[in-house]
């Protein structure tokens, strides 16, 4: 497993080098969004309106954190299941989104969009929200505050740990990993 340190925004050169199975440590700004926020972002695109943040080169983390205790930047903040964003991700990828962090497999449509527009899908350890929160140094709501835990946040992260599952070549760590250990 190759370990790579990457900083956002990501450009095509970096994205092209990332391979399924690589361990990445993400640094810089990332944005958050779950189903409800994705629905609104895509509705804006369909109306031809601007997104609440510049999506070029950015990473969206599928997360709805717990509220932060006083003095802490964020609460527990592990990934949510990604397939619920499958209906929306291709349109965001077409707009320049370069990375997504979640858990669980993506649809063929999302994987095709990742290959076409150069974007990677990474996973973080689901259910390790307390541990992951230690790499999040700042978090502020920048859009859709009414959605509560589902609001869009801008986070500053340091060495946020993730693993590349789908790269731009169409490789898929889930199917390769499972095939290696299957005994049926």
């Amino acid at each position: 497993m190759t370990e790579r340190r990457v900083s956002t925004p990501l450009n095509d050169d970096v994205v092209q080098q990332l391979r399924s199975g690589d361990k990445v440590l993400i640094n810089g700004t990332i944005y958050t969004g779950r189903d409800a926020a994705h629905k609104r972002l895509v509705a804006l695109l369909e109306k031809g309106e601007a997104l609440p943040f510049d999506i070029q080169g950015q990473i969206i983390y599928f997360v709805g954190p717990t509220p932060a205790r006083p003095g802490k930047p964020v609460g527990s903040a592990g990934p949510t299941t990604s397939y619920r964003m499958d209906a929306y991700s291709p349109q965001l990828i077409a707009q320049g989104l370069k990375g997504m962090i979640g858990k669980g497999a993506r649809s063929p449509e999302v994987i095709e969009a990742m290959k076409k527009y150069k974007c990677v899908y990474m996973v973080a350890v689901g259910g390790a929200g307390a541990l992951i929160a230690q790499s999040i140094k700042k978090s502020e709501v920048i859009a859709y505050e009414d959605l509560g835990p589902e609001a869009v946040r801008r986070m500053e992260v340091e060495d946020f740990p993730a693993v590349v599952v789908n790269d731009i070549l169409g490789n898929d760590l889930y199917s390769e990993g499972v095939a290696r250990y299957r005994k049926e």
């Binding site: 350890v125 307390a130 541990l131 509560g148 889930y174 049926e184």
Partner: protein
């Protein structure tokens, strides 16, 4: 009649909502350690180590183990000689949930099914009340995450499908769920009863200590066999490949109609959380 104060129930429920989300049970921790020794995949072992580390941080800092602090599900054994003084039992539970999720900095995850508007209190809780003889009151809170609940299913098999049909359905369900429900899993299987009874006993089986055996030898054998087959799927910790797809399979059974063979598979993530209160 023995009287139990509304406020006592509320306070205990409030504390239990918080501690269930901060403290992973020793049975689950022991299952992680055991799995780590047997796990063939280096990535899998690393993930299990991270889950142990995560549990330590959560307990020390009083931060939720997982950001999905769950739907607050309650199983109540209410003695028929118990009366709640100063209010209603379900109201006391709901108020305890509301205060516990607020004061514990837990995520409120309950919303309207159509508008998706959050209730902002993590209520209403799901409360299952079982009337039992005596003057005891036992309340178990089991916060249930959405990711693993989404992968759960109820099906009505044909009696001719038999035990092979049951095994096939359970294994297929876990296989199709892949990484989504956050493996390593605890899998509750309810066989028999009616449509809703199968689901209820499957869910209730998740409260058993992880890896405990059903006292019925036939069901205990089925649990072992399902666990072995599920771990042969190769899904592994977080679905990245490995030999630990499930920590345990718990099977419960209930008599069913001569025409039916109901089956429920209730999947739980590795954050198998529950706390028991005895009043």
């Amino acid at each position: 009649m023995r009287e139990v104060a509304f406020q006592d129930i509320l306070e205990k429920v409030k504390d239990a909502c918080m501690s269930a989300n901060f403290e992973l049970g020793e049975d689950v921790m022991a299952a992680f350690h055991k799995a780590k020794e047997k796990e063939e995949s280096p990535v899998g072992r690393e993930i299990l180590e991270q889950l142990l580390e995560n549990a330590k941080i959560a307990q020390k800092d009083k931060i939720a183990l997982c950001q999905d602090t769950g739907f607050a599900v309650f199983f109540v054994d209410l003695g028929d000689e118990v009366r709640v003084k100063g209010g209603n039992l379900v109201d006391a539970i709901n108020e305890g949930v509301k205060q516990g999720y607020q004061d514990g900095y837990l995520r409120k995850s309950i919303c309207h099914p159509f508008t998706r508007k959050n209730t902002d209190t993590n209520t209403p809780a799901i409360v299952h009340i079982n009337l039992v003889p005596g003057d005891g009151l036992k309340i178990v809170v089991a916060p249930k995450g959405g990711g693993s609940e989404n992968m759960s299913r109820v099906t009505m098999l044909k009696p001719s499908d038999g035990i092979e049909g049951i095994k096939q359905f359970v294994i297929q369900r876990v296989k199709e769920s892949g990484a989504n429900p956050c493996p390593p899993l605890v899998i509750g299987v309810g066989i028999g009863g009616t449509f809703e009874k199968a689901a209820l006993i499957a869910k209730k089986s998740l409260l058993r200590p992880v890896g405990s055996k059903n006292p019925d030898p036939a069901l205990a054998t089925l649990e072992d066999e399902l666990l072995e087959k599920i771990n042969e799927l190769g899904i592994g910790p977080q679905g990245l490949g490995g030999s630990t797809t499930a920590l345990a399979v718990h099977v419960e059974m209930h008599p069913c109609h001569i025409a039916s063979l109901p089956l429920a598979v209730n999947i739980n993530c590795h954050a198998s959380r529950h706390k028991e209160i005895v009043l």
